[in-house]
């Protein structure tokens, strides 16, 4: 799947991300929201809270909990996907929640919940990592205190070459796939999965490649957040006299 000139199926170089844009605050009703486009992926994230938790018995006396729902809409893939949560979606919801939890200062809001809703509108590989990237932006938009944003990207092995940010084809027919999420400023990893075969050397180089990608995505996240609020700050400054 790697062409003779070293390009990938979609024309990218091995260490190149898909074109990525993030929009912040796209939903009025939600406390925080974000839309990410990463290649053909298109994912909306809405954050509600911190808010009262029902049923009450789930509440923790010393901190907030995060509830996360990752869901793919029926038209997000070529073959209709049943809207009911699948085993995969339930697992991804948990994995994404656990990737976000270390970043959020949960002890600020005991007994409450922070709800993260992720709707995948169009899927083309790497939706879990794109969801994490967008969800952390939406959390920041909601005014929730966080140690750092969380940024995620996958690396994989295709025809023996390590490649960054797999798309659907590379994910399906490649030899390995390793999603990584981290808090870039703090340099701490919050999610590390791998499937396929990696030698120790490949794993080390793959992780390094993922970190490079994460640093680039982190800049995109920061720019998206600042853009929304620099226009708000301008509005505040405009004055009315």
């Amino acid at each position: 799947m790697i062409l003779e000139d070293g390009r990938r199926v979609d024309g990218r170089r091995p260490d190149e991300l898909r074109p990525t844009t993030i929009e912040v605050g796209i939903l009025k009703n939600a406390d925080g929201s974000a839309l990410i486009r990463q290649g053909k992926n298109k994912i909306i994230v809405a954050v509600y809270g911190p808010r009262e938790l029902h049923p009450r018995h789930l509440a923790l006396p010393d901190r907030a909990i995060i509830r996360c729902r990752y869901h793919m809409v029926p038209f997000s893939v070529p073959e209709r996907k049943s809207p009911a949560p699948t085993r995969r979606e339930i697992e991804l919801s948990k994995v994404i929640r656990e990737a976000l939890e270390p970043a959020v200062i949960l002890s600020s809001f005991p007994r409450t919940t922070i709800d993260v809703f992720i709707e995948v509108l169009q899927a083309d590989g790497g939706t879990r990592t794109a969801s994490i990237t967008a969800a952390s932006v939406a959390l920041a938009d909601a005014g929730i205190p966080m140690r750092d944003l969380v940024t995620a990207v996958a690396v994989g092995k295709v025809d023996g070459t390590l490649v960054l940010d797999l798309n659907h084809v590379e994910d399906q027919y490649g030899d390995g796939d390793m999603p990584v999420a981290m808090m870039p400023s703090l340099g701490q990893i919050t999610l590390l999965q791998a499937d396929g075969n990696f030698t120790l050397e490949e794993f080390k180089r793959g992780l390094e490649l993922a970190m490079q990608g994460i640093r680039r995505l982190y800049e995109i996240q920061k720019r998206a957040l600042k853009e929304k609020y620099s226009s708000l700050a301008l509005e505040l400054r405009k004055g009315r006299s």
Binding site: A140, G143, L186, L236, R237, R240
Partner: protein, 227 residues
């Protein structure tokens, strides 16, 4: 010991604001020698080296002594449940609302406060383990019978309470009305009658215009007002 941002610039969660010896105030945490922002907001550097970040979206958490504007959400047998624009709903006990005891088996609490009523109340107890308790048994507290309810971002209200209370006092005396600023971001205007639009206009300036020289400009505007 460098500071990496200017006072007043926008910072994000995870941004390293400074390294060295400063004081981490609201919205800033210290790990090792680094000062890290917790919020998406505006950085403020105090004269004594205190670093704080004012979030763009402030989540109101009650504190004992706060004056808040609440809406009645539910009526219980001996208490009311009040929405105070916070993750924690507040409770108003019967004993904190009425001066003398009543027989709850005979009287419906709805005749005192019903769902949807707006009240001005004070937080008398909150420790995170239980929901905050309110009282309306003080002067200037109680049900709002007429007027207009405005909502602002709680962080704007903080800024106003910090530096612009005088302007509000001036508006009150100039336009002969009563304005109550709740810490939870809600503001009530009472007794303004036909001057209401003008009051709202000035309040929008006070709460939303924080550009350079705006305080002086608003003061001048207020001094020209006549009722």
């Amino acid at each position: 010991m460098p500071i990496f941002f200017k006072s007043g610039s926008i910072v994000l969660p995870g941004d390293v604001i400074a390294e060295g010896n400063y004081r981490a105030s609201e919205g800033v945490t210290r790990t090792d020698n680094k000062y890290i922002s917790l919020y998406l907001g505006i950085l403020r550097i105090g004269k004594s080296g205190s670093l704080s970040v004012i979030p763009f979206k402030h989540i109101y958490v009650p504190e004992v002594g706060d004056i808040v504007v609440g809406k009645v959400r539910d009526v219980g047998v001996t208490s009311w449940l009040i929405d105070i624009n916070s993750p924690y709903p507040a409770v108003l006990q019967l004993s904190e609302a009425l001066s003398k005891p009543i027989d709850v088996t005979k009287v419906d609490l709805r005749q005192y406060l019903d769902i949807g009523d707006v009240i001005v109340a004070k937080v008398i107890e909150f420790d995170y383990l239980r929901d905050p308790m309110l009282t309306i048994k003080e002067s200037r507290l109680g049900r709002v019978t007429e007027g207009l309810l405005l909502e602002f971002q709680p962080f704007l209200v903080y800024k106003v309470l910090e530096s612009r209370l005088k302007l509000i006092e001036e508006v009150k005396s100039k336009l002969k009305c009563d304005i109550i600023v709740g810490k939870n971001g809600r503001v009530v205007v009472m007794g303004a009658k036909d001057r209401l639009l003008r009051v709202v206009d000035v309040l929008m300036m006070i709460f939303e215009d924080f550009s350079a020289g705006s305080t002086e400009r608003i003061r001048k505007y207020i001094s020209k007002l006549r009722d």
